[in-house]
């Protein structure tokens, strides 16, 4: 008998079931299929402008900084400004997300390189798939477009978010993702990011920049 068998037998003995009862199987199939939503806080059930205002309030509340630009063309300029204002080198690492590639980086003096982070980049940029107004949370998917290492290794993490991609709540992220990759499927990594890295492990004092980014800057593209 394998350990798997032992554990399953023990669970079934404790639950007084055999494991092949059709009614139990149909209950879990139905639940997995329907994925009922449960309680959704009313807080974020707002129109587009309301959602954006709430997202910004929540993200700033967890020490992210926000810039709003009116088109994707303005992102490189904003990023250059951010790095300059924070006395950071004019260098940026990014994946090959077509939305980022299409931006006019050449119009800036930024030294842009493409690929995953090897831990030496001070600043990295990724494009959010969506974001959650309820808590000011970004959702970023893994892939060559936005390598996961860029979310964690650079000291400064810049994220581009299209205001039109913003959703109200966690559950809306899943609805969107299922349309993209199919029900029951997931990208290798889905990162929910709510503010820059922090730790409270020394005398319960919250300090930013524990192991991940010390700063999180969100560029919201409206229109």
């Amino acid at each position: 008998m394998t350990s798997r068998d032992t554990i399953f037998a023990s669970i079934r003995r404790s639950l007084h079931v055999k494991g092949d009862e059709r009614i139990r199987t149909s209950i879990i199939e139905e639940r997995l299929d329907r994925a009922p939503k449960g309680v959704i806080p009313a807080r974020a059930q707002l129109d587009a402008a309301g959602k954006l205002a709430l997202f910004i309030e929540k993200a700033e509340g967890v020490q992210a900084t926000i810039a709003r630009v009116s088109s994707a063309k303005e992102v490189p300029g904003e990023v250059a400004r951010y790095l300059r204002d924070n006395n950071l080198p004019a260098a940026l690492r990014m994946g090959d997300d077509p939305r980022l590639s299409a931006m006019p980086w050449k119009d800036t003096a930024l030294d842009v390189s493409i690929g995953r982070s090897n831990g030496l980049d001070l600043s990295g940029i990724t494009h959010a798939e969506t974001a959650i107004a309820e808590t000011g949370t970004l959702a970023i998917l893994s892939g060559h477009e936005n390598p996961t290492t860029l979310n964690f290794l650079p000291d400064n993490h810049i994220v581009v978010l299209n205001a039109s991609d913003l959703v109200a709540d966690l559950e809306s992220v899943w609805a969107r993702l299922r349309k993209k990759v199919g029900k029951g499927e997931m990208p290798r990594t889905v990162n929910f990011v709510t503010g820059p890295s922090r730790s409270g492990d020394i005398e319960q004092t919250i300090l930013l920049g524990a192991h991940g980014p010390r700063a999180l800057h969100i560029v919201v593209v409206e229109g």
């Binding site: 639950l15 449960g38 807080r43 997931m186 319960q204 192991h211």
Partner: protein, 474 residues
């Protein structure tokens, strides 16, 4: 069992912690930070109570169908290219993990925070095999340097002051300038960040725990604030997830419900900084991420808790709200509990995992004030389950003879009202006679354990029932 429990000497452990004084001092921060922040976060979400109920229902439903959801979860992990290993006990989990590490030729292993890793005593096992485990959560890193176990399930080094941490860093980080300034908390954090950054990049295998496993997608979920868990799982070639079987939930929607109560109950955050869903190894379209993805599923006695009066404990999501609010934990800290899980959740879980004969003190060391249950996001009736442990101890004659005889003696009288009332009348009058001058006893035969610390009030004289009868008779 790998970590030697000292729960049987709980009383001594507790007295030492109190006499030492540094524990209650360090824990003052817990009370101000965790408690006040939780209230604020809960008050800001009108749906919090409804979400608690929803979270509870999700776990109850899952536990009732645990075999089926585990089976589905396993199937989905395999479909995504990952491996699933089942471990009946700690020893088996350790050997599975060591085996994976050996096969990948690992020399250094980075680790995200995992209570299951503590439960199975993984670090010692890896070290003995010549593999260096590096804890990367700041608190875990600190206690690893000290050779300690966590004193709190989400703030492992909560019992330490910054002066103690500075001393440990100077002792261990000998390659750094001995004259460096470490008086600020920030400089301690920066030093740990620098030291660990090298380890993250050098590690061959990364081991994390899991807050949830999702049957619908085969994903494992970690919830952290530092980002160490993510660096642990995306940089090495191999990612191993170690989780206990009850961590499974049906769907992404179900996780979302529980996430809403988890961070709020734990740290008072609405969301932790990083909530990460990992599904299998890197894909063809990835340029980073692990090439191998393993999940080790540990039972270690949990399947036997199903269907018993302790099943509700398997709803626990390890938020630590119970210990953050426990007046007993506040005074003695986590180490006094003598094993991996402290506070109220540990007082219920530890006897299940290591035996009530070894951990009998834990469910007794509670005033039943009920504060733990009132803040538990999963509505686990912790005092009720501690009482069930006391019942099992009583049935098995495991509680001290003095307590049994005392209780029996008292019950003998309490079951005979006429005798009880007569004795009470005599005793109250006698005590009044002896103590009337002062109104209080500073020592009292048979009640030394009380009067050692506080005075005992002298009875007013005649009992209430005797006086009432007299009054009614007139």
């Amino acid at each position: 069992m790998s970590v030697h429990p000292t729960s049987h000497s709980f009383k001594d452990n507790a007295s030492k912690a109190i006499a030492d004084g540094s524990v209650p001092r360090a824990l003052k921060n817990v009370r101000q930070n965790f408690i006040d922040k939780r209230v604020k976060a809960v008050d800001a979400l009108p749906e919090f109570e409804a979400l608690r109920e929803s979270a509870r229902e999700i776990k109850n439903h899952t536990l009732a169908h645990l075999d089926l959801y585990l089976d589905r979860y396993e199937q989905k992990v395999k479909e995504s290219g990952g491996h699933v290993h089942f471990a009946v006990d700690s020893a088996e989990a350790r050997s599975i993990i060591l085996d994976i590490c050996r096969k990948s030729g690992a020399r250094t292993v980075t680790k995200g925070k995992s209570m299951i890793s503590e439960e199975i005593g993984l670090n010692g096992h890896l070290e003995a095999a010549g593999i260096v485990p590096v804890e990367t959560d700041l608190g875990e890193y600190i206690i690893q340097l000290r050779g300690e176990t966590p004193s709190h399930i989400i703030a492992p080094a909560v019992h330490l002051t910054k002066e103690q941490i500075e001393k440990d860093f100077r002792r261990v980080h000998t390659q750094l300038d001995p004259n460096r300034d470490l008086t600020e908390k920030r400089s301690l954090l920066t030093e740990a960040r620098t030291m660990l950054r090298e380890k993250f990049l050098a590690a061959d295998v990364g081991i994390t725990g899991a807050n949830f496993l999702i049957a619908e997608t085969g994903s494992s979920v970690i919830v952290t604030n530092e980002g160490n868990g993510d660096l642990t799982q995306i940089l090495p070639r191999v990612h191993i997830v170690i989780a206990s079987i009850e961590k499974v939930v049906p769907t992404l929607e179900d996780v979302s419900q529980i996430l809403r109560v988890l961070a709020r109950s734990a740290t008072g955050q609405e969301m932790s900084v990083y909530t990460t869903f990992s599904t299998g190894p890197r894909r063809a379209s990835d340029v980073d991420g692990p090439e191998e993805y393993h999940v080790v599923l540990l039972d270690n006695g949990r399947s036997a808790m199903l269907g018993t009066e302790f099943q509700d404990m398997l709803r626990c999501i390890r938020c630590a709200a119970c210990m953050n609010h426990c007046p007993v934990y506040h005074q003695i800290g986590g180490h006094a509990y003598g094993w991996i899980y402290p506070g109220p959740m540990g007082s219920v879980l530890t006897p299940s995992l290591i035996g009530v004969d070894k951990a009998g003190h834990l469910p007794n060391a509670s005033t039943f004030c009920g504060r733990c249950e009132s803040v538990c996001p999963m509505k686990i009736p912790l005092p009720k389950m501690m009482r069930h442990w006391r019942e099992r101890e009583f049935e098995r004659n495991l509680n001290p003879a003095v307590a049994r005889y005392g209780l029996g003696f008292w019950a003998f009288f309490a079951k005979k009202p006429w005798l009880y009332n007569l004795s009470a009348r005599v005793a109250a009058k006698a005590m009044k006679l002896i103590g009337r001058d002062k109104g209080r006893f500073q020592s009292l035969p048979g009640l030394g354990a009380w009067t050692k610390y506080r005075d005992f009030a002298v009875p007013e004289g005649e009992t209430f029932q005797a006086q009432w009868k007299r009054r009614a008779g007139k």
